[in-house]
């Protein structure tokens, strides 16, 4: 230990991160991040989508290598090469997706791979269950060691994860959105659990989008923005709006893509739509010539709303497109009525990667280039060419497999499909995710051009600047409901974030 260390700082912090950076092709995900986790504190990590939280919490337990910087755990240099190194250093991460084996019992999951053995290598079941009972008792968890994990509630499974982390000797716990799937009641129990851990000297990094939680449970909060640490504050005495301002903080992009006045005729009417517990009673309309944006945090039900409207997910409530009522559960009927969906994950949900550009463009309307069902490759090429030129798809070839195109160009191919189908109403779910800046601007221009020609667009985006730039109106969602509507003139990043996180506006 350093001889200069004095009094209160004599105890080394649980975790010290200095100058950590991480590059991905085209993005700097983390830039020179400094972060200190004191022993026995609950430290919240907050930031917008894409601020670098996910990258950070993958680097800590060694799931991702860092490019620069140093880390120390209780004063010892810490260079994790694998999650195994992290475990040995006492760091354990609990992600939103649990790593449990559903058809094994709680006890088996707790001691998976390190079961107590009897002579001959057989598992000593009695000792296994006794050990599990001990661990659960010490943590105050009311779980039966013999219960199957598959039969536990989400909260119960989370407890098993926590118990396992601690039983392997974790002293630093990373919790990624632990509250995301919990009910109000379970949330209280989670808080109790976290407080109990803190009192036992465990340090917790707590990630959540919900600001209210942070004020309930955290001692300090660190805000990340665009891969950099904006600052660390004591939670006591802090206002919610201070945090929101730190999260958003950047200069607002001046560019705005206002269109002409939208028409009066509503092209898309959504009335009381609910879907699978993720979307509750959403009502709004989008008029011809209008771009309506949907803002909200990841998991707020935006994608689920889009899929419910399109018929890709079950729904209750009414959807009317250009005067036609859509039956639920039928994308086919939705497309016939003039609706198109650019899905969130273009590779998994949008494209036939092995098939050609022209085949992907005509997919939703092959009949237009076929005669008695026989497709004319010549007519198909002729149909694809103007769209490829118009959207500037590169390379401008009709007969290239889509898998060889860049992300931006792939996205344009999906757009071209709906242009070819002449859809009047388009739902674009994260239309510019993962595509470069130039292509992004092109997609934005294209969206405006479509509305100028009388289309109606519903755009989901996690990027606030994009949302503010393209939308004539922003619907903000939180926990499955539309909690606010902001017109272009009044919308600011702060207002959208406040609505999305449930912060109280001063």
């Amino acid at each position: 230990m350093s001889p200069h260390a004095t009094t209160t700082e004599a105890v080394a912090p649980a975790l010290e991160v200095r100058g950590v950076s991480k590059f991905f092709p085209g993005v700097q995900a983390l830039r020179n991040v400094d972060f200190t986790l004191r022993a026995g504190e609950v430290h919240a990590l907050v930031g917008e989508n894409g601020a670098g939280k996910s990258t950070f919490i993958k680097i800590l337990p060694g799931a991702l290598p860092k490019d620069a910087g140093i880390m120390r755990v209780f004063g010892q240099a810490y260079e994790p090469r694998s999650p195994w190194d992290a475990l040995r250093a006492g760091i354990s991460a609990i992600y939103q997706e649990f790593n449990l084996v559903p058809y094994l019992t709680v006890a088996e999951n707790l001691f998976l791979g390190r079961e107590p053995r009897r002579a001959g290598g057989l598992v000593d079941w009695r000792r296994l269950n006794a050990m599990a009972r001990d661990v659960l008792m010490r943590l105050g968890m009311p779980l039966n060691p013999r219960a199957y994990v598959a039969n536990l509630s989400v909260a119960g499974q989370q407890m098993v994860e926590i118990a396992r982390a601690l039983s392997v000797g974790a002293r630093i716990l990373l919790m990624d959105e632990p509250s995301a799937a919990l009910t109000e009641h379970d949330l209280e129990r989670l808080f109790e659990q976290v407080r109990r851990l803190r009192s036992q000297g465990v340090s917790v990094i707590y990630i959540s989008h919900r600001l209210a939680e942070i004020f309930t449970i955290a001692d300090r909060a660190t805000v990340l923005r665009d891969g950099e640490v904006v600052g660390t504050r004591d939670v006591a005495g802090l206002q919610e709006m201070d945090l929101v301002r730190m999260m958003v903080g950047r200069q607002v992009e001046t560019g705005s893509l206002a269109g002409g006045a939208p028409g009066q005729e509503p092209l898309l009417q959504v009335e009381g739509v609910s879907s699978g517990g993720m979307v509750h009673d959403c009502t709004f309309e989008v008029r011809a010539g209008e771009i309506a944006g949907i803002g909200g945090l990841v998991g707020s039900g935006r994608t689920e709303l889009a899929r419910a409207i399109f018929g890709a997910a079950p729904r209750t409530g009414r959807v009317v497109v250009a005067g036609k009522v859509l039956p639920p559960g039928s994308p086919r009927a939705a497309i016939r009525a003039g609706l198109g969906l650019l899905p969130e994950d273009r590779k998994l949900q949008g494209l036939l990667l092995r098939m050609l550009v022209r085949e992907n463009i005509t997919l939703a309307n092959v009949g237009a280039v076929a005669c008695y069902g026989f497709i004319s490759a010549r007519r198909e090429r002729a149909a694809a060419r103007p769209l490829i030129a118009d959207l500037d798809i590169r390379p401008p070839e009709t007969d290239r497999a889509v898998m060889y195109l860049s992300g931006g160009n792939q996205q344009k191919v999906v757009l071209a499909r709906w242009l070819f189908t002449r859809s009047q109403v388009l739902i674009l779910d994260e239309p510019t995710r993962g595509i470069d800046v130039g292509a992004k601007a092109e997609v934005h221009m294209l969206m405006r051009r479509l509305t100028d020609q009388g289309a109606a667009l519903l755009v989901i985006s996690s990027e606030l600047p994009e949302l503010l730039k393209v939308s004539d109106r922003i619907l903000v969602m939180r926990e499955g409901s539309i909690v606010g509507v902001l017109a272009r003139e009044e919308a600011t990043e702060e207002k959208v974030m406040a609505l999305a996180t449930g912060a109280v506006l001063p």
Partner: protein
């Protein structure tokens, strides 16, 4: 005249003339496979049998026609199987459905023959019954795959057992005969140069290729097999497409069953054992991915030809029947292994 395939290969394919002959051969063989894939394998196989069969009996007109006749039924089943596998499914029931349809179609002919109907009409109605029943079997298993989303493996395994059982039940376990002469003439045509089953196979392959590569239905089959979610979100009638491919496979099994009955002059509930595996082998040898979304009927044709040529050539060389199985297994594994290496 030197006919050693080693020599042929070194002359044709070695890039580096300075290497020793053996080394060049070792180098050329996998390289050749890599570049030309399964077609190359087929050509090599024919060269081998052409060279080493007694009096080069393999390379005679009659033997080629014989091979074509022998693969006809497998190729007809494999055409349907190609559709199913491209749609990311599998159909284990084709052999049993073939037996059931052969038996039922033949029984229909026996019954109709008693009413004094003309032989041609009886044959036509009986064949229609067999093919129709096959389509119904396919509709059934296809519906189970499409609607309650049973795994294709399970749905068609169940169909296989039911069809096999029913084949025995309907005829009481005894072969069905006699069949009208107008019907048996299809499979038994001693004074024809090319037997009718070969023409039927050719027509099936042609139509299957046409539909798969040039018709909207074929396009949809690739789309559903390649990315079902994208197909659904593009408004394709995914369920209808899935059911249709199984119905098609079933109908072609029915056709195969009728051809087999016609060839043998009677319908046997024990027929068609393991035919599904030959059909799947042909499809896989032809480069169709079991993951779906990729493959061609012409590839399957090459696959069926390889299996046919292996059966024929090894028999001509008097290789023991049991060893033939071992060799066929090795060829299938080797071919798909090479195909995978080539892709990586």
């Amino acid at each position: 005249m030197q006919r050693s395939p080693k020599r042929l290969l070194t002359l044709m394919y070695s890039r580096d003339q300075s290497t020793s002959r053996t080394a060049a051969w070792l180098y050329a063989l996998p390289n050749f496979f890599f570049r030309y894939g399964i077609v190359a394998g087929f050509v090599l196989l024919c060269l081998y049998f052409g060279t080493f069969t007694e009096e080069h009996r393999f390379v005679t007109r009659d033997n080629f026609i014989n091979v074509a006749n022998q693969i006809a039924i497998n190729m007809i089943l494999a055409s349907g199987m190609t559709f199913v596998i491209i749609a990311a499914g599998i159909d284990l029931s084709v052999g049993a459905v073939l037996a059931l349809c052969g038996v039922v179609g033949s029984m229909a002919m026996v019954e109709l023959g008693r009413t004094g109907l003309s032989g041609e009409l009886t044959a036509a109605l009986g064949m229609a019954a067999g093919i129709g029943l096959g389509a119904v079997c396919g509709l059934f298993s296809g519906s189970l795959v499409a609607v309650p989303r049973l795994p294709a493996f399970i749905a068609t395994l169940g169909m296989m057992m039911m069809a096999r059982g029913l084949a025995f039940v309907v005829c009481g376990g005894r072969p069905v005969s006699p069949l009208p002469q107008a019907f048996t003439a299809i499979g038994q045509s001693p004074h024809r140069l090319v037997p009718i089953p070969v023409y039927i196979m050719t027509a099936v392959v042609f139509l299957a290729h046409l539909v798969l590569r040039h018709h909207t239905f074929g396009r949809y089959v690739y789309a559903v097999g390649g990315n079902e979610e994208a197909a659904r979100l593009s408004g394709l009638p995914v369920r209808r497409i899935v059911i249709s491919v199984y119905a098609l496979s079933g109908a072609l099994s029915g056709l195969g069953g009728m051809i087999l009955a016609s060839k043998l002059g009677s319908a046997d509930p024990k027929s068609g054992l393991m035919y599904e595996l030959d059909a799947i082998a042909a499809v896989v040898l032809g480069g169709t991915s079991l993951m779906g979304g990729r493959g061609t009927v012409l590839g399957t044709l090459i696959g069926a030809l390889i299996i046919g040529v292996l059966n024929n050539g090894l028999s001509l060389m008097k290789v023991d029947q049991y060893w033939q199985y071992v060799l066929k297994g090795l060829v299938i594994i080797g071919a798909v292994l090479l195909d995978r290496l080539k892709r990586e």
